[in-house]
Amino acid sequence: MTTKQLVEQIEGEASVYFDTDDEKVVFSTIAFPHFRGMENILKGKNALDALVITPRVCGICGHAHLMACVRAIEDAYKNAGESVVLSKKAENIREFTVVMEIIQNHLKWIYFVLLPELYKRSDSKQTSYPLKGAFGASLATKAIALLGGQWPHSSYMVPGGITCDPTYIEILQAQGFLEELIAFFEKESLGVALDDFLAYETCKEFAQGDADIAKIEAYLLQLGMHEKGLAYDRFIVLGKHQFSRQSKIKQTRFFSVDSKYVSTVESFSPNEKTFARNALYKDEYYEVGSLSRMMSLQIPLIKNIHRRYKDSAYSRVMARVYEVAHLMKHVKELLSEVRIDENSFNKPAPIETLTASGVGIVEAPRGPLIHKIDIEKGMIKNYEIITPTQWNIGSSNKNKLTPVQKTMQGHSKTDALFIFRTFDVCSVCTTH
């Protein structure tokens, strides 16, 4: 029989339908029932207006949408033979704010979703403090706002650069917030210094102390999550950044990637109307997000985790936790490299003169985010958005399961729902 489970706290909701046999999930489908029609809203507007509209796809990762959008428009310029020159400063600041958004996302996920769920699942007497996540996230967003004006919903990236013109004061303030954030993360989450944590080589080292990371790891093991929630052991990273590497990984073998092989198909959702489509690469499903990105960097600790526990729920969760530390270190360096005497903005040709198509890809908190734009004399003729959750949380028929469907198969419904959450699902993005 099929039972329905409403999943909340995933930036909206989703319905998961389970077919079970002897209490074990044999098949599942997923529906995202809330339509918004962002792509239609964009049609006929000035292409630059997409820089304001598309961040509003998502309240938690709108900045990633902004960057995907500006990259798509810049790609269109390039395809029309018009050069758009970005200063190193503009590139670094863009990267900085996008990474800070990923950090705030992960901190919220750890404290709002993961820890309460782990405590609940293991009948722990521990109290969870979701607002810890909000506090850490607010430090990250302050640093974004110093350069982007505000978070959420900044539109400070424009074709040719960024709108801000920071002095050392803003850079120093941003560094200050970052340092405070790192100190908070070390004290509350890691229990050790950031550099010491990043130097871990095996997952045995997580168990030190009683900081939140140690608890997370212990509960994951207790729930057997190191043996559950395995997908295809196939990963993909499509966005070009300094903090990960564009690649396709099958088990441990690396391949190059080209976004032209990305396609979407209609979801299989017999029980409820869904507004999501599944994303594939060369007709195959891949896992995207933190685990894929950390895999792409061949970090010893991640390799160790993967060797032991493959692409289990444990690996997925711990890679996300690790990524926070990795990104903090990365942005610290990034910010110190910003040269404020460089131009923030190099004016491109007027948008009205542009008739071309472009693709913009970034690594959003949950994985590759793709924006495709067709521009005719500066106006949007067509706009397409493919979000990370469309990769991980597709809903397909039994012949070709999506990553999430595969991970939930064979487990109890309770375990399956926990595994579902380990992907860090974003409902609003999925039904853009």
Binding site: L6, E8, Q9, E11, G12, E13, F35, R36, G37, N40, I41, K45, N46, L48, D49, L51, V52, I53, R56, V57, G59, I60, G62, A90, K108, F112, P116, P130, A134, A137, S138, K142, I144, A145, L146, L147, G148, G149, Q150, W151, P152, H153, S154, S155, Y156, V158, G161, I162, T163, C164, D165, T167, Q173, I340, D341, N343, S344, F345, K347, V428
Partner: protein
Amino acid sequence: MHSKQEAKPRLVWIQGVTCNANIHSFLNLPTLPSLLSKLNMLYHPSLECSHTLQEITQLEIACDVLIFEGTYDPLLKRNDVLIADVVKHFAQEAKYVVALGSCASFGGIFKASAPKRNSGLIFNEKESFGPLLESQKKVINLSGCPVHPEWLGYTLNMIINKKEILLDELHRPLELYSHLAHHGCTRNEYFEWKVDAKEFGLKEGCLFYEQGCRAPMTHASCNKILWNEVSSKTRAGTPCFGCTEPDFPRNNLFSTQTNMSIPQDVPLEIPKRAYLTMTGFAKTFSIKRLEGKLIDYKTTR
């Protein structure tokens, strides 16, 4: 000290067609923990609360404050229950209904998802329209895309402290929306002397003449109560898009609509003739300090 849970206002936070940004904006509020301790959170989509969505959509309990985030779509369902019924149920007993963000206030971005049926709770853009017209007296519109965390903090604290909130004709609190986004902008002197920003990416110059800035026509205290406590769009060189006004989102957001080089819209309630006269005078003078860069990192070494 512990206060009795019963004495605290019971709050339910429901979502229409939304992007969740009002939640994430609210999570930036520095005083969030103390504010939440003064509320009895029955339901919230992200924060800790006493009920699940399934439970509250039984429509059996009541609340004192209903927060509605997102565009109102009468056909939208949450947990298979029409949001129209959910809103009607909770609004009935609530003393206050907060329409959170421009979507809930006026329709906002997601009005365009279904333009013929979507609206705010008591306004469709600036026309009276929506499901709560009959009880509009209890509706407080907190427009903004998203709402500023302090604006919601102010509103909830006023309710908790049983203070009267004065509203403008669009039901927005006067203390938050009688200012213009222009007030407190670091580029004010450039506006006064009509020196435009030559392009993006400069701290110098006003964004009103070329880049589409709506701050002088937009009711919002963004440059008085800074975003994330540190900045604002205009401070970061981004034009104000007028996101707190009923006509958001307008078109061509990064350019100023001009008629023969004359701005089509001039600062709020200033007669165009007066504005143009002042502009003409101000433009006559070339003020060296305002023409150049404030700091030239390339040559000042």
